[in-house]
Amino acid sequence: MDALSLARLEFGLTTSMHFLFVALTLGLAPLIAFLQTVWVVRGEPHYERLTKFWGQIYLVNYGLGIISGLLLEFQFGLNWSGLTHFAGEIFGAPMAMETLYTFFVESTFLGLWIFGWGRMPKVLHLLTFYVVAAAAIGSAYLIVVANGFLQNPVGFRNDGEALRIVDAGAVFGNPAALLAVGHILPASLMVGGFLMAGVSAWHFRRGTGEVRFFRTSMRLGLTVGYVATFFTIGFGDASVLWVVRNQPTKLAAGAEAERAQAEMIAQHGPGDYLAPLWVPIALTVMLSVAYLYVLFALVPIVLLGRGRIERRRLLLGIGVWTIPLPFLTVILGWLVREVGRQPWVIYDVLPTSAAVSTVSATSVLASLIVFTALYVTLVIVGYVLIGRIARRGPASLFLGRALGEPEEADESATAELAKER
C-alpha cells in the first residue's frame, strides 16, 4: 500500500475508535448534569449516588476519549500536511479554537469537578459540570465545523496556492456542519441513554438489589434515548436530503450516478469520482437501526410503569446485549460521511491524494502499526474497566474518595493474594 492508503487507514481507524468514546461523553454529560441538578435542588442522597455512579463511568470514558484524541491533533501535521498547507487557514481555525475554547476549558473544569468533590460549595460544583457539558457540545460543534468545510467548502477564496477565509460567518454557519451537529448530539444521547438503560437492565436481571437506583436510571435512560431517536432521524434525514442535492457522488445510484460522474470528469479530468458501492448500504443499515429503536424501544417504555419491566428477563437481556448497537451505528454514520466524500478531502476542491504529506510509506506504516496496537489495547482495556465499574454498581463508589481512605484494592487484597497463589 502507498502512503495515501496507509494514512487514510490510520485516520479512519483512530478517529472511529476515538469517536466511540466521544459519543458516550456527549451522551452522558447532559444526563449527569440533570442528575446532579436534582441532587443539588432536592438534596437527596439517592441522586448523589446516581451522580457519582454515572459520573464514574463518564470519567473513565472521558479519559479514554482524551487519550485517543491526543493523536488526532498531531495527525493532521504528520500525515496530512497537504491539507494543513492548502486549507490550514480555514480548516485549522475551528480546530485551534476547539483546543482553546473547549478542550482546554473542559479539562480544567473537569479537574475542578473531580477534585472539588465535597470541597467546593455545592452549587459552584454543579456549575463546573455545566461548563464541562457545554464545552463538550461546543467541542463537537467546532470539530464538525472543520469537517463541514471538507464536506461543503464555503466562505473561501482559492488563490491557487492556498484557500483564504473570505466569510467566517459562512464557515461557522455551514449547513453541512449545523445539520451534522443536530444529528450527532441526539445520536450521542441515544448512545448514552440506551447504555444507561442497558446497564440498569443488567442489574435487574442479576437481582443486585439496587431497585430504586436503577429504576431511576432506566427511566431516565430510556426516555432520553427514545426521544433523542426522533431528533436523530429528523436531522439525519435532513442531512441525507442535503447530501443528495449537494454531494451527488456520495449516495447516487444508476443514471444519476452516471450523470454525477460525467460532470466531475468534465470539470476535473478522468477518474473515479463515485463513492464505494457499500456507502448507500451502510446508510440503509444505519436508518434501519434507528427505526428499530422507534418501534421496539416503545415496549420497555410502556412497561416502565410500576416496575413491570424489571421481571421481563428476555427484554432485559435484549437491553443489555444491544448496548453496543448505537455505538456501532454512529461509526457507520461517520463512514458514510467520510468515505462517501472520497476521492475528495475537500469536496470538489482538493483531492485526498494531494492532501497527504510527503513522507515515506514506511514511516506511515510504522505509525499505523504503533497506534493501531495502542488504540486496540486502549479500547479493550477501557471497556473492560468500564464494564467492571458498571457491574459493581453503586455499592463501591470511588469518586470523591479521600487519600486517608484505603484504596479499593486493599479491601480485597487478601482475596487477590489467595487467587495469585
Binding site: 473513565v60 479519559g63 479514554l64 482524551i66 487519550i67 491526543l70 493523536l71 491533533e73 498531531f74 493532521f76 501535521g77 504528520l78 494543513t84 498547507h85 490550514g88 487557514e89 485549522g92 481555525a93 480546530m95 485551534a96 479554537m97 476547539e98 483546543t99 482553546l100 475554547y101 478542550f103 482546554f104 476549558v105 479539562s107 480544567t108 479537574g111 475542578l112 473531580i114 477534585f115 472539588g116 468533590w117 465535597g118 477565509i165 467566517a168 504529506s357 513522507v359 514511516s363 510504522a366 505509525s367 497506534f371 495502542l374 486502549l378 482495556v381 474497566l385 470511588f398 469518586l399 470523591g400 474518595r401 479521600a402 487519600l403 484504596e407 479499593e408 484494592a409 487477590e416 495469585e420
Partner: protein, 312 residues
C-alpha cells in the same frame, strides 16, 4: 500581530513545559519509589488535580501553531515525523497508565501501571526534548539526522529538567518522608540540570543558523539562573520558592528556542487575514483560560493530607 502570536505559541509550549513538566517529572519519580506502594499512591494523588489541566497546553500549542505558522508546522512535523510518533505514543501510554492505575483492584495491577508511567514519562520528555533540539537546527530528512549531538543533548536535558521540576513539586506538595526524599533527589538533580542547561546555551551558537539574538540569550540564561535559585531554596528548605524557580526554568526553555528561530517562524506566518480573524476570535479567551487554571490551583493549594480528594 504576528509577534503577539509568536509569543502566544511560545507561552503555550512554555506553559506545557512548566506544568506537564512536573507531572512528567513526578511520574519519573514513581520509578525511584519502586516497592513503596503508599508513597507511589501519594505521588499520583499529588499530581492528580493538575494532571488534566496540564497536558492540554501541548494540544493547544499544536492546534494554534498549525493555524498561525502553518508552513513551519508542516515542515517541522514532516521532518521530525518519527520523533512525534514516539512522543505521542509515549504520551498515550503515560495517560493510559494514569487513568487505568486505580480502576481495578490488585497491587500488581497498580504497580505495573506505575512503572509503565515512569518509563513513558521519560520517553515522552526525551522525545519532547529531541523535538525542540531539532527545531533549533534545520535538519534534513531521514531518521539519523534527527539524532544530532545537539538534539541528543536536548533529549537528556529536558527529562533531567522535568525530573528536577517534578521532585521540586513533590517537595512543595507532600509531607514527611516522601517530601524529604523528593527534596534530596531534587537537590542532587539541580547541579546536573544547571550544567546541562549551560551546555545547551553554550553550544547553541554552533547549531542555530541565524545566530544567537540578545532576546534568546536573556531567555536562555533565565533557565540556569532559576535552577541556581531553586538549588539554594531547596537547601534553605524554602519548598515553595524552589518549585516556583524550577517552574520558571522549565517555562523559559521553549520561548528561548522560539527566540532563536523567530526569524524562520515569522517568515512562515499565516496570511494577515487569518491572523486577524484568529486574534479576534481566540485572544479574548486566553485570560479566561488562565483564570480557570488559577482557580484550580487555588482549590488545590494545600499540601496533601488525609482529606485530599483522590481519583487517579
Amino acid at each position: 500581530m504576528e509577534v503577539v502570536w509568536l509569543v502566544v505559541v511560545g507561552l503555550l509550549l512554555g506553559g506545557w513545559y512548566g506544568l506537564d513538566g512536573f507531572s512528567l517529572g513526578a511520574g519519573m519519580f514513581l520509578g525511584v519509589l519502586r516497592g513503596d506502594a503508599p508513597a507511589r499512591r501519594r505521588v499520583v494523588a499529588a499530581i492528580g488535580p493538575f494532571f488534566l489541566a496540564n497536558e492540554v497546553w501541548l494540544i493547544a500549542f499544536a492546534g494554534v501553531l498549525a493555524v498561525t505558522f502553518p508552513e513551519a508546522e508542516a515542515r517541522l512535523f514532516t521532518v521530525a515525523y518519527p520523533v512525534i510518533v514516539v512522543m505521542v505514543a509515549a504520551w498515550l501510554v503515560r495517560d493510559a497508565a494514569m487513568w487505568f492505575r486505580a480502576r481495578r483492584p490488585g497491587r500488581a495491577w497498580r504497580a505495573r501501571w506505575e512503572t509503565t508511567q515512569a518509563v513513558a514519562s521519560v520517553v515522552f520528555a526525551a522525545s519532547a526534548g529531541l523535538f525542540l533540539g531539532n527545531a533549533v537546527q534545520v535538519p534534513g530528512e531521514g531518521g539519523l539526522r534527527l539524532l544530532s549531538p545537539y538534539a541528543l543533548l536536548c533529549a537528556v536535558a529536558v527529562p533531567a529538567l522535568f525530573a528536577l521540576h517534578g521532585t521540586a513539586f513533590l517537595t512543595a506538595r507532600t509531607t514527611g518522608e516522601l517530601r524529604d526524599r523528593a527534596r534530596r533527589t531534587a537537590g542532587r538533580l539541580a547541579p546536573l540540570v544547571l550544567v546541562l542547561l549551560v551546555a545547551l546555551i553554550g553550544t547553541a551558537p554552533l547549531v542555530a543558523p541565524a545566530g544567537v539574538t540578545p532576546v534568546a540569550l536573556v531567555l536562555g540564561l533565565a533557565g540556569p539562573a532559576s535552577v541556581a535559585v531553586a538549588w539554594l531554596a531547596l537547601r534553605a528548605g524554602r519548598d515553595g520558592r524552589a518549585f516556583a524557580a524550577t517552574a520558571v526554568a522549565a517555562v523559559s526553555v521553549p520561548p528561548a528556542v522560539g527566540a532563536l528561530i523567530a526569524g524562520r517562524l515569522l517568515g512562515s506566518v499565516a496570511e494577515p487575514s487569518t491572523i486577524g480573524q484568529l486574534s479576534m476570535m481566540a485572544l479574548p479567551i486566553l485570560p479566561l483560560l488562565l483564570g480557570a487554571q488559577a482557580v484550580l490551583w487555588w482549590v488545590n493549594r494545600h499540601r496533601l493530607n488525609d482529606h485530599s480528594v483522590t481519583f487517579f
